[in-house]
Amino acid sequence: SGVLVGMTFTFYPHSGTQYLIIAFGVVIIGGLGSLPGTFLGGLVLGVSQLFGGRILGPGFQLLSGYIILLIILTVRPQGILGGR
C-alpha cells in the first residue's frame, strides 16, 4: 500500500506521521480487532473528509476527518464494529 500511495500522492520523508494518523483514525473508527470494521472506517473517514472539504473549504479537509474521529472516540471508543 505504501507503493500505491507513492504512485498516487506526493510524499517526502516527513509524510510518515500524516499517514500514521490516518491509519489510527481508520482503525479506531472501524473498531480494533475487526477487519470489516477497518474497511468501514476507511470509508467513513474518506467520505467525511470529502464532505468536509466541500462544505468548509479545501484547507479543512483533514480537520473534518479529525472531528469525526474525535466524535467516535468520545461517543463509542470501541469503534463502529468493535467488540468488547
Binding site: I28, G59, F60, L62, L63, Y66, L70, L73, T74, P77
Partner: protein, 312 residues
C-alpha cells in the same frame, strides 16, 4: 545513609549557579540554560500527567501552540504588556483544557493518547486556516524584539524552579497520595473513596497552565511562531525522549533528561540527519537496559533521591 543536610546544600549550590549565570556566562550559554529550564518545565508537567497520574498524553503541544499564539495575538494586536501576555497564554490553555476535558476523560489509555494527539493536530489545522493569525505563514512577535536575554532567562528560571517545586509539593500532599494510589490500581483506589475524575482533572489543568506559561517564554525567545511547528508532534517526541532517559515517575528525571537532551541537541546540530538517529538509538538503548531511566535506576540501586516523594 548520607548526612541530612546534603540535599539542601546541593539544591542551594545548583540554584546559585543558575541564578548567577547571566553574570559570567556567554549569551549562547544563557540561551542554552533557558532552553534547559523550559524543557525541564515541559517535561515535569508531562511527567506529572504520565508518570504520576497515568495519563499518557501525546497532545501537550496543543497547550504549547495555544500559549504561544495567545502571546503573539495579545501582545501584537491588543498591546498587552509582554509578560502579562505570557500569563494570558497560561489562562487560555486552562480554558482549552476545561473545554476538552469532558470528551477527553472518557477515553482511556491508548485512546486518550491518540485523542489528545488528534485534538492538537486539529488545532494546528484550524490555526493554519485562520486569517487573523496570518494562516500558515506564521507571526513575528514584535514586542519581544527589545527584551534582553537575561530578562527572558530569569523568567524561564523562575518558571522552571516553581514548576519543579510545585510538582514536589503536590506529590507530598494528599493529592499526590491519591495520584499514586490511582496509578497503582484505579479501581481499588476508587473503592477506597478517591475521586479519580477530580484528581486527574486538577492535574490536567495544572499541567495545561504551566505548559501554556512555558510556551509563552519559549516564544518570547524564538520570536516567530508557525502553526504546524507549534502544534506539531515533535514537541511530544522530544518530551518523551527527555522523560524516558531521565526516568519516568521521578521528580529529578525530567531535570537530568532535559540537560542531556539540550546538550546533545546543541552538539549534534551540525549533523542534521544523524541527530535523530542518535536520539532514537539512545532512547531504545535506555528502554532496553535501564527502563526506569537514569534517575530511576540510581534510585533503585542506591536508594538516594534528591527530591524524595515516598512516604516512609
Amino acid at each position: 545513609m548520607l548526612a541530612k543536610p546534603i540535599r539542601p546544600i546541593l539544591i542551594v549550590v545548583l540554584l546559585a549557579f543558575l541564578v548567577t549565570m547571566p553574570l559570567w556566562a556567554s549569551r549562547y550559554a544563557v540561551n542554552v540554560g533557558l532552553l534547559v529550564c523550559l524543557y525541564v518545565t515541559l517535561a515535569s508537567m508531562w511527567n506529572l500527567l504520565a508518570g504520576y497520574s497515568g495519563m499518557v498524553s501525546l497532545g501537550q503541544q496543543m497547550f504549547i501552540g495555544l500559549g504561544g499564539y495567545t502571546l503573539a495575538v495579545s501582545s501584537m494586536y491588543f498591546g498587552v504588556p509582554i509578560y502579562l501576555s505570557v500569563l494570558f497564554g497560561g489562562f487560555t490553555s486552562v480554558i482549552l483544557a476545561v473545554l476538552i476535558s469532558m470528551s477527553v476523560f472518557r477515553m482511556k489509555g491508548v485512546y486518550f493518547a491518540i485523542g489528545t494527539w488528534v485534538i492538537a493536530e486539529a488545532l494546528g489545522i484550524c490555526f493554519s486556516n485562520w486569517g487573523y493569525v496570518k494562516y500558515g505563514m506564521g507571526m513575528f512577535i514584535q514586542p519581544a524584539y527589545k527584551l534582553s536575554m537575561s530578562g527572558v532567562y530569569y523568567a524561564g528560571l523562575i518558571l522552571c524552579v516553581s514548576s519543579v517545586a510545585l510538582v514536589f509539593l503536590l506529590l507530598r500532599s494528599n493529592l499526590g497520595l491519591a495520584l499514586m494510589a490511582i496509578r497503582d490500581d484505579d479501581q481499588a483506589s476508587e473503592a477506597l473513596g478517591v475521586n479519580i475524575f477530580r484528581c486527574k482533572f486538577i492535574c490536567f489543568l495544572i499541567s495545561a497552565f504551566i505548559t501554556g506559561l512555558a510556551a509563552g517564554v519559549l516564544y518570547l525567545n524564538a520570536i516567530f511562531i508557525q502553526p504546524f511547528e507549534a502544534f506539531g508532534i515533535s514537541w511530544t517526541v522530544n518530551l518523551l525522549f527527555i522523560v524516558i532517559i531521565g526516568g519516568i515517575g521521578t521528580v529529578e528525571g525530567p531535570i537530568l533528561g532535559a540537560i542531556i537532551f539540550v546538550l546533545l541537541q546543541q552538539f549534534l546540530s551540525e549533523y542534521v540527519g544523524y541527530n535523530m538517529i542518535i536520539f532514537g538509538a539512545i532512547t531504545i538503548g535506555v528502554i532496553f537496559f535501564a527502563p526506569k531511566g537514569i534517575v530511576g535506576t540510581i534510585q533503585v540501586k542506591t536508594g538516594w533521591e534528591l527530591f524524595p516523594v515516598r512516604r516512609q
